[in-house]
Structures are given as structure tokens and as C-alpha cells.
């Protein structure tokens, strides 16, 4: 049996439970999963992972968001080409949507094993909070905005938003997709269309972001799951957050539709992006480890693992052929959208981390500084789009 060290940053309650499923499945193959969890976020874990790889003492496998994050490591020949495994397992046929595999593909070779689909475009609402405020649970963004005064009066925070920069940027991108439409987003991020970025559609999005800013005034929290927790405990009306929040609701024992509601695409554009996590496999000398890597890659995409993992994680499986009867209300909504093909590429696929980082900076500033006008913010937004590559 080979010990394979796997590094990831899944340490919250739902995440850890999900990882345990992966480990269980891998251990069942006779190998041993050595857990190298690093808490924090990608920001903490990534330099550690990269250092290990550059330092010539890599782990057996590691988690990245698939997309452009690993591009350079691949070009530098530090990551293994997993095309053989992919072909043997027939990933091309089973991975759905197929764009997921594109994120792993460089020059026609496949370098990673996608494990799930995470979409950002969700609005989570606390049914009880709205009940307390005496308004109906909104069914779209505009209703939600309209209800914010009532929520305030009832002593609830209308919109929970953590202080970490990526949450602010995520919220904004969700608003973009919902209010301006997916094409706008793809044009701006994908093609670097500055005219579009400066255009009236985006103006509207920035206005909406300003509304969201007002609604989120007074969230004294940092972590995303603390924000989620405010929704769970009904002290906040809602939160815009990816489907991983689902895991928190699950751990807290809440029931979708009953205790909380979810609105994909903010109830406006029922779309989801196909961001997600993928495992990469550094090049190592030890043939045992190489073999174990192959086993892990195959295991990750096996139907049983996919089901067990994604149920815990609250994300969607990467293959369309698995049976998710245990999925809850919200998850099913996601699955349907996925089935309908209403997907769009994620920002991690469209943008480099550098651009995302700049967007994070812009939006965290915007959401925390009420004196920043939507116009100013948009001007800077255009600058970032202009300089992106």
C-alpha cells in the first residue's frame, strides 16, 4: 500500500466531512490517504503547495480550483499529464458539462481530475427572518431589495456579507450574471471587452451593488460561513454565496425549502457557473506514488465517490450519470439547471488569479466604503478589464 499525501484547504465542517468520503474511497483501494489539510483559504494553502512543488519535494496530489491557477506549473512540466488515466476511464464521455474538462486541458492533454462543480450564483434566504419581518420570502433580487427596510426594522441584517475580499467580488459577479446576463460577463472577462464594462448594463449592476452595499451595512464578520451562520440563525435575511454554503445548512440540520430558501441566479437568470475543484498530481520519481496517483484520479471520478462526496460538500457531481436521489431541494435545482445546460464558465476559468485579486481589492473597498460611488467603482473596473491578460 502506498501512502499518498493530499493537500487541500477543505477544513470547514461540511468540507471536512466531504473529504473524509474521498479518503475512505481511496483507502478502500488499498492505499493510504495522508491528509495534509491547511486551513484558511487558497491564499494560505497555495504558496505552501507551490513551494513544495518548486522545492522538489511535492505532495502526491493537491487541490486547486481548476482553471488558470495551475497553468504555469503545467507549462513548467511540474505536473503530471493524466491523459492516460482520463482516457482509460473515459472522462471525455462522462464529465458533464464538458467544459469542466477543458479547464484541465492544456494543449490537448489533461492534467487534472475535476471532482465537483461549484456555482456561485445562489441567494440563500432565511425563511424565519422574513417571517419575523412580516414580509414574504422574496423570489428574486428586486423583491429582496424591497424587503430590506422591513428586515432592518425587525432587527435583522438584510444581507450578510463577510469581510474577506473574495466574497465581495463574488457577490458582484453574481449580480453581473443575474442582472446583465451571462454574455456580458463572458465578454468582459473572456474577451476583455472594455466597452461593455463601461456600458449601461454594467452601470445597472453597479447600482445594484450599491443597494447590496446598503443592505450589508453592519456585518461585523469575516468568514463566509459566519455569514452563512447568520442566515442559519435567522439574524440575517440572506446571503449571496456559492453552493458550498449548502454544506453549512446541512451540518446545522436545516431543511431546504422549510428553514431556508435558495434562489439560483438570484431568481432572475437561473444560471450557474461551472467553477469547481480539481486535483492535480505533481511529477514524482517514485513509481509507487505515480501508481497511487493514477488510482486516486480514477477513484475521484468514480460514481460512488462522486455521490458521497458531493452530497456532503453541497456541490454538484461532475458526471451527469450518477444518481443523486438523496439530494435536497436546492441541489436538485442546481442539477436541473445543469441538465438544461444553463451554464457559464467561472471566473477562475476566465480570469487569471491576478485579475481576480484586483477585482477582489476593488470590490472589498467598494463594499466597505460607502463614500465610493458606483461611477468611480465602474471606472476602476474598466481599468482592471483593460489591463487583464
Amino acid at each position: 500500500a502506498t501512502e499518498l499525501e493530499v493537500t487541500h484547504w477543505w477544513t470547514s465542517g461540511g468540507e471536512a466531512a466531504a473529504v473524509a468520503e474521498l479518503a475512505k474511497a481511496f483507502d478502500a483501494t488499498g492505499n493510504t490517504w495522508v491528509d495534509g489539510a491547511i486551513a484558511g483559504s487558497g491564499g494560505t494553502a497555495r504558496p505552501i503547495i507551490v513551494s513544495r512543488i518548486i522545492g522538489g519535494d511535492p505532495m502526491g496530489a493537491f487541490q486547486f480550483n481548476h482553471g488558470r491557477q495551475a497553468e504555469e506549473l503545467i507549462e513548467a512540466g511540474l505536473l503530471r499529464d493524466m491523459t492516460d488515466v482520463a482516457e482509460a476511464e473515459g472522462w471525455k464521455d462522462i464529465v458533464n458539462p464538458p467544459s469542466l474538462l477543458d479547464g484541465c486541458t492544456v494543449d490537448g492533454r489533461i492534467y487534472c481530475a475535476p471532482v465537483n462543480i461549484h456555482s456561485w450564483q445562489w441567494l440563500w434566504l432565511s425563511n424565519k427572518a422574513f417571517e419575523d419581518a412580516g414580509v414574504a420570502v422574496p423570489t428574486n433580487w428586486d423583491e429582496y431589495v424591497a424587503a430590506s427596510d422591513a428586515l432592518r426594522e425587525a432587527g435583522k441584517l438584510p444581507l450578510a456579507l463577510g469581510g474577506q475580499p473574495w466574497q465581495a467580488a463574488g457577490l458582484f459577479n453574481v449580480l453581473t450574471v443575474a442582472l446583465a446576463g451571462p454574455d456580458v460577463l463572458v465578454k468582459i472577462y473572456g474577451d476583455g471587452d472594455t466597452e461593455m464594462a463601461a456600458g449601461p448594463e454594467m452601470e445597472r449592476v453597479f447600482q445594484a451593488a450599491a443597494d447590496a452595499r446598503d443592505m450589508s451595512q453592519g456585518s461585523n464578520i469575516q468568514d463566509w460561513n459566519q455569514a452563512t451562520n447568520m442566515v442559519i440563525t435567522d439574524t440575517a435575511g440572506g446571503q449571496v454565496m456559492g453552493d458550498w454554503a449548502q454544506g453549512e445548512f446541512a451540518v446545522a440540520g436545516e431543511v431546504a425549502g422549510e428553514d431556508y430558501s435558495c434562489l439560483p441566479g438570484l431568481g432572475v437568470n437561473a444560471l450557474i457557473d461551472t467553477a469547481g475543484d480539481a486535483f492535480y498530481f505533481p511529477v514524482v520519481d517514485d513509481p509507487d506514488i505515480t501508481a497511487a496517483q493514477d488510482v486516486l484520479a480514477a477513484t475521484l471520478l468514480s460514481p460512488e465517490t462522486q455521490v458521497a462526496f458531493n452530497l456532503k460538500k453541497g456541490s454538484l457531481p461532475v458526471r451527469g450519470d450518477v444518481d443523486l436521489t438523496a439530494a435536497n431541494d436546492c441541489m436538485n435545482k442546481g442539477l436541473e439547471i445543469l441538465k438544461a445546460g444553463n451554464t457559464l464558465p467561472s471566473t477562475t476559468q476566465l480570469n487569471t488569479e491576478d485579475t481576480n485579486n484586483q477585482l477582489n481589492d476593488l470590490f472589498v473597498e467598494f463594499f466597505n466604503d460607502p463614500s465610493m460611488t458606483p461611477e468611480d467603482a465602474q471606472a476602476r473596473y474598466v481599468d482592471i478589464v483593460k489591463s487583464k491578460d
Binding site: 477544513t11 486551513a39 484558511g40 518548486i54 522545492g55 460561513n225 459566519q226 451562520n229
Partner: protein, 304 residues
């Protein structure tokens, strides 16, 4: 007592003997009052940590962080030490404790040995260019660790120590070097130069003087260096995690994991217990050898 001729005692009036010392003089009240208030302020966080770590979560949620625990529970401590999870590992801090010990001891020793030899060479054997190197070292004290992260990864890879305990020891030695060298240099400079000369006349060479003359005279500054390094290295997170692998991850990695992996609500009591547990070793060292620390600093560390 012959020959001490006294004038007639015409003067014996007014106060005599010691000044009546009021135990509660205004000055004393001011001094002790101020000190006590300040000390309370300094103790407050520790108090909050201890108190919180002994409460259950419901009690914490009810508010007042300063209130003493109604019901003392050691649950959080047990959890922090042995049960808290990181990813799949649910062994709490205990997993990292021995790693921390394994890292700290050689790192402290190596960094002190090297820095003390540097300080000695700089103070007593001033060779050409010594000042230049020293200035660079002081400059190095100001370089943010993050900047050096990649260059050092490459360096360690090239010398084949990446990912090993010794690689980490080297990193700690490098980053401890500026301030420690400054301290040792100042201390050795303050020792009488004649001792050094006498030893040279007696035929002792570089190492002979170092080991036989300088080291035995330098206990205080070694204590200072030891305390500074133990604190620094024990509390380090970044190097421990970047330059080693999971089998060596120090306690602080677990601490980071416990504190940063929020499972639903933040378990403040466990966080505090974990924090205290992690800080225990340096804290004990301070409480035990604080006196020597001050003496060591006074013994020359500050003479520039």
C-alpha cells in the same frame, strides 16, 4: 573614640532619625496605583482567554466575555489538545506538539551557536569587511519574511535540504541571525577587551577563546537569545509549513487549522484553549526565566 571633641549640644532639636516613611504616601499610591492598573490591562487578554476557554459554548453565546464561567468545563481544553479536527486528522494540537519540540530545539541551538560565533567574530576579530556584512545583516532584519519565501525555497532545493528538518533549522537560523548577532556583538563588545588579549597571549586561538573564555562568561546573553528564539520559533507558522511537510508540521499549524477552520460557529472556547496551549511553552519560559532575561539584557545587550 579619642579626640573627637564635640561642641556643646546646643542644637539637638527638630527631627532626627529616618524620615517618617508613610507607607501610603501620595507618591507610592500613584506609583503602585498606576502599575496595578496597567498590569490589569496587560492581564485582561490572558484573563479573557482563560475564562473563555473554561466556558461552554452556550454560555459564551450569552454574552459577556469578561464574566467568570458559571460552570467550569475542561471540555474545550481536551478538545483542543486531542480532538479538534483539521481535515481528517482529529488529534488536536497534540499532533504538532512534539513536532514543535523537534523543530524548536535544534533551531534554537543552531541559531544561537551561529549568531554567537558571529557576534564574537564581529566584536573581537574585526576582519576587513566585517562591518559591511554586519550592516547587511541589520538590513536583513527589515526584510519581510514573505519576500524571501521563494528564493529560500530555491536555495534549499539546490542544497538538497528542502522539506527536511535541517532545512527548517537553517531557515530559522538565517532569520534569527540579524537580531541575535546584534545582541551578541554588543554583549561581547562590552566584555573587557583585555581578557581577550590575555587569552591570546596565553596561546588560545579563535575557538579556544570562544569556548573557554567567552562562552562561560556569557550566560545572561545566552539566556536572552534562548528566550527570544524559543518564542520566535515556537510561534512560527509560515516557515514551519512552507519548508517542511506534514510529518513535521508544528503545533501552530494545528492552531491555525483549529482557529481558521470554522465549523458552523466559531468555537471560541476551543480556540482560546488551543491558543493557550500553544503559547504555554514560551509563557512558561518567560515566567521561569524572566529575571535572567532582564539581567541578560542589562548585561550588555543594549550597549550599542
Amino acid at each position: 573614640m579619642p579626640d573627637v571633641v564635640l561642641e556643646p549640644r546646643t542644637l539637638v532639636e527638630g527631627p532626627s532619625g529616618p524620615k517618617p516613611k508613610k507607607r501610603l504616601s501620595r507618591r507610592n499610591i500613584m506609583i503602585y496605583g498606576t502599575l496595578i492598573v496597567i498590569c490589569l490591562y496587560y492581564l485582561l487578554p490572558l484573563y479573557v482567554m482563560v475564562v473563555t476557554s473554561l466556558k461552554g459554548m452556550p454560555e459564551i453565546r450569552l454574552g459577556n466575555i469578561f464574566a467568570p464561567p458559571v460552570e467550569i468545563t475542561f471540555e474545550p481544553w481536551v478538545k483542543a489538545w486531542a480532538q479538534a479536527c483539521t481535515g481528517l486528522n482529529c488529534e488536536g494540537l497534540s499532533r504538532g506538539f512534539w513536532n514543535s519540540v523537534r523543530i524548536t530545539i535544534p533551531s534554537v541551538l543552531a541559531s544561537i551557536v551561529i549568531a554567537s560565533v558571529n557576534g564574537y567574530a564581529l566584536a573581537n576579530w574585526r576582519f576587513k569587511g566585517a562591518d559591511l556584512f554586519f550592516t547587511i545583516l541589520i538590513f536583513g532584519a527589515f526584510i519581510p519574511y514573505q519576500v524571501m519565501l521563494y528564493p529560500i525555497v530555491i536555495l534549499l532545493r539546490e542544497i538538497g535540504l528542502y522539506g527536511t528538518l535541517w532545512g527548517l533549522v537553517i531557515v530559522h537560523t538565517i532569520f534569527g541571525m540579524p537580531i541575535l548577532t546584534l545582541l551578541f556583538r554588543n554583549y561581547f563588545t562590552s566584555l573587557p577587551e583585555e581578557l581577550f588579549k590575555a587569552a591570546r597571549v596565553d596561546g588560545a586561538r579563535f575557538w579556544g577563546i570562544y569556548f573557554r573564555i567567552m562562552v562561560p562568561m556569557s550566560l545572561p546573553i545566552f539566556v536572552v537569545a534562548m528566550i527570544l528564539q524559543v518564542t520566535g520559533i515556537w510561534n512560527d507558522f509560515l516557515f514551519g509549513v512552507v519548508y517542511t511537510k506534514p510529518e513535521f508540521y508544528p503545533m501552530t499549524v494545528q492552531l491555525n487549522n483549529i482557529v481558521n477552520s470554522v465549523q458552523g460557529v466559531k468555537e471560541y472556547n476551543v480556540n482560546m484553549a488551543a491558543t493557550l496551549l500553544t503559547g504555554l511553552v514560551p509563557l512558561i519560559i518567560y515566567f521561569v526565566s524572566g529575571k535572567l532575561f532582564v539581567r541578560g539584557i542589562a548585561a550588555g545587550a543594549v550597549k550599542g
